[in-house]
């Protein structure tokens, strides 16, 4: 009897020890939409695993660190097909994962956030740049690693003003998101002292993005479209829908540079970014994914790294603990942008420098020198605390 007890105690002890040696498993879900949008430039066509590839790399990075802390990260990927219900897919993911990286349109993201609120799942918005998700429609369980339209427009605006290109010809596409980007550009012009000398609308009349004799026609259309403009320094295009902006460089009636949705473009990341140690990450990404890293990849990488950073600092995989730490005052993450990235505590938007790129090189990085702020110069990009309409709940 006693011997039996001793054996039992011994067994249970061994089991406890074995359990202690097992790594803490931290599940991260990735929820995106299958299929990619069509771009005017063939080389800008996003990869099928755009975003996801960044999350995969961050999981590897987290696991390299995790092996020293007895933590293991696993990624569960879910790409929804047309017509699939995001709430259902997210609920399913949340059953096994305390954290979800989302690349969803604004409305779907909000539905998912509200449906997972009571469960305590922490969502990372890696894809949607809509202002309203950080303003009137902000949520306490959604952290945004994607920049906002206003942050992107301000980053560009600061540079154009620094360059003394203060007279803008604004060309806006006819889709809703083009108009939202145009709003952000108008706001940037007002904030930083640029003048929009005229606005033109480029109507999307349909038509294919790939044709066999495309260039001939475009070369006739674009100069005509941009002629008889008042004197201007730079043409700023708002064309998130990829209808016309990429056709403008070198084809404007007046010889002027193009910026915005083509030419000099504001982005959270670029394949050409090699400063601040970034070359190491670019190499790692290339090795893992056999392609170059996009802005969406970076936004997803940053989200997963934020989770890894918080789990190593708190030495815990507990979702509640990790969430509290990420939202707390001591959190910051390094993401190869020359400065630590922190969260705006009033709306959970990640503060970050924005790159200005031309498709081959990083031309500049905003905030520009001289744009000052009492808290963080990164808060000269986008809506600041006093203007915010967000009430986190």
């Amino acid at each position: 009897m006693i011997r039996c007890l001793v054996v039992l105690i011994g067994l249970s002890l061994a089991a406890t020890q074995a359990r202690a040696a097992d790594p803490a498993l931290i599940g991260v879900g990735y929820l995106g939409v299958a299929g990619t949008r069509s771009t005017l430039s063939l080389v800008e066509q996003p990869a099928e695993n755009d975003g996801l590839a960044g999350a995969r790399l961050a999981i590897e990075d987290n696991n390299t660190t995790g092996k020293f802390l007895n933590q293991r990260f696993a990624l569960e990927e879910r790409r929804m097909r047309e017509g699939e219900d995001a709430v259902q897919a997210a609920t399913d993911l949340a059953a096994r994962n305390g954290f979800i990286i989302a690349d969803l349109p604004a409305d779907a993201l909000l539905k998912v956030a509200d449906s997972l609120r009571d469960r305590g799942t922490l969502l990372f918005n890696a894809g949607a740049i809509d202002e309203r998700l950080r303003e009137a429609d902000c949520r306490a369980n959604v952290i945004h690693t994607a920049p906002t339209r206003a942050m992107l427009a301000d980053a560009l605006g600061q540079y154009l003003v620094w360059k003394q290109w203060k007279r803008w010809l604004l060309v806006v596409g006819s889709h809703d998101e083009d108009k939202l980007f145009a709003d952000a550009l108008r706001r940037a012009a007002t904030r930083f002292g640029a003048k929009i000398v005229q606005e033109r609308v480029f109507e999307d009349t349909g038509g294919a993005r790939r044709t066999d004799s495309g260039v001939t026609l475009i070369q006739r259309q674009m100069p005509v479209f941009t002629q008889q403009a008042p004197a201007y320094d730079v043409l700023v295009a708002a064309d998130e829908s990829e209808v016309f902006a990429a056709y403008l460089p070198y084809r404007t009636w007046d010889p002027r540079p193009v910026a915005g949705s083509a030419g000099l473009v504001p982005r959270s990341w670029d394949a050409a970014q090699d400063q601040w140690g970034a070359i190491q990450m670019q190499n790692r990404f290339m090795k893992l994914n056999s392609r170059r890293m996009s802005a969406l990849d970076m936004q997803a990488w940053t989200a997963v790294r934020m989770i890894g950073e918080a789990t190593s600092r708190t030495n815990s995989g507990d979702v509640r603990k990790v969430s509290d730490f990420i939202k707390g005052p001591d959190f910051s993450v390094a993401a190869f942008k020359g400065t630590k990235l922190t969260l705006r505590d009033w709306n959970l938007q990640l503060r970050q420098p924005i790159l200005l790129v031309d498709g081959r090189m990083v031309v500049s990085v905003s905030p520009q020198e001289g744009f000052l702020h009492q808290v963080s110069e990164l808060d000269t990009l986008g809506y600041d605390r006093p203007e915010s309409k967000c009430k986190l709940k």
């Binding site: 390299t64 660190t65 140690g277 190491q280 790294r305 190593s312 600092r313 390094a334 630590k340």
Partner: protein, 327 residues
């Protein structure tokens, strides 16, 4: 054929423990790696002028004299090697099998073994300097960078920039014995000469962690505050400690300053304005002067250590990064 002869001469040179006898008193030679210029600038500390500019491989960064003072090793990351400069002829004579993208490295007290941080594959490569052979690799965290060896030679320290740890590696077994979490992007590690503390700078975290190397615990942190300067601009990188361990000098990157720290209180006593984006530093062997590399302003600042004053600025090549001074 000629290369072979040179290699053999070099091997003999690396091993001979003879001190450099020719240097006159108080005149020293500093070598500065210029990251963008792909050159190494040679500075004479008597005249404070650049006496020679040596062409090296792509992206030279980590740079150090061999223990005998006869050669200078410089990591040329984009050429995936460490080049060896003969200090006498001041030209590149050889290269070492360093592994991909070497940045910083450390050598043991005897000058026989070299440990190299290879940023691209999360390893530290161990090289036998005599045989020119790779002895092995040690798996560490993501983006290994800072490298130093404890004064007793028993512990190798490597910092990994994305894992945010200082890894303690036993030099005899080549196994990691402890990992200490520090603030974001640890770039440089330096022991006190009495071995009682290890200081690790965190570039993005903006702090220097003071670690007890026996307990493997962070026992204190040096923080920085410069009026009129935003916090994000304070990015500690290089660390220099005086031989009496009383004063530490810490390069603050884009804050364009060197912090002078009282090691007893771990408080900054003074900020010295140097050039833009100050990276690394080296003392002259008599410890009268401290030279700092200023990346963006393409110059080297000379600090009078006793007076704690910047006394001179020397123009060097494009984006100076590392510096070493002949023993």
């Amino acid at each position: 054929m000629q290369a072979e002869v040179r290699t053999r001469m070099l091997r003999a040179g690396l091993l001979s423990g003879l001190a450099l006898a020719a240097a006159p008193a108080h005149a020293f030679i500093a070598y500065v790696s210029n990251e963008k210029g792909n050159t190494v600038s040679v500075i004479d500390t008597e005249s404070w002028t650049v006496t020679k500019t040596i062409k090296v491989g792509q992206r030279p960064r980590g740079i150090e004299f061999t223990r005998d003072g006869k050669f200078v090793m410089v990591a040329v990351g984009d050429d995936d090697t460490i080049q060896v400069i003969d200090a006498k002829t001041q030209s590149v004579v050889d290269s070492l099998p360093s592994g991909p993208d070497p940045e910083l490295f450390a050598q043991d007290a005897a000058g026989k073994i070299l440990y190299v941080a290879n940023e691209n594959d999360n390893t530290v490569t161990v090289i036998d300097l005599e045989k020119r052979a790779r002895l092995g690799d040690i798996q560490v965290g993501v983006e290994p960078e800072g490298m130093t060896i404890s004064p007793d030679g028993k512990t190798l320290i490597n910092t990994s920039e994305t894992t945010n740890m200082a890894h303690f590696i036993d030099t005899s077994s080549r196994q990691i014995v402890a990992n200490v979490l520090v603030d974001a992007r640890p770039r440089f590690a330096e022991f006190r000469h009495d071995s009682s503390e290890l200081w690790v700078s965190s570039e993005i975290g903006g702090t220097v962690s003071v670690i007890d190397p026996r307990k493997h615990e962070v026992i204190g942190k040096v923080t920085f505050e410069i009026p009129g300067l935003r916090r994000e601009a304070i990015q500690p990188v290089g660390i220099g400690m005086t031989r009496d361990d009383k004063t530490a000098f810490i390069a603050l990157g884009p804050a364009n300053r060197i912090a002078v720290v009282d090691t007893a209180t771990r408080k900054v006593t003074k900020y010295l304005l140097v050039g833009q984006r100050v990276w690394h530093m080296a003392f002259t062997p008599d410890e009268k002067y401290l030279l700092t590399t200023n990346g963006v302003s393409n110059d080297v600042s000379v600090i009078d250590v006793a007076a704690q004053k910047v006394i001179k600025t020397i123009q060097v090549g494009e984006l100076p990064w590392g510096i070493t001074i002949a023993p």
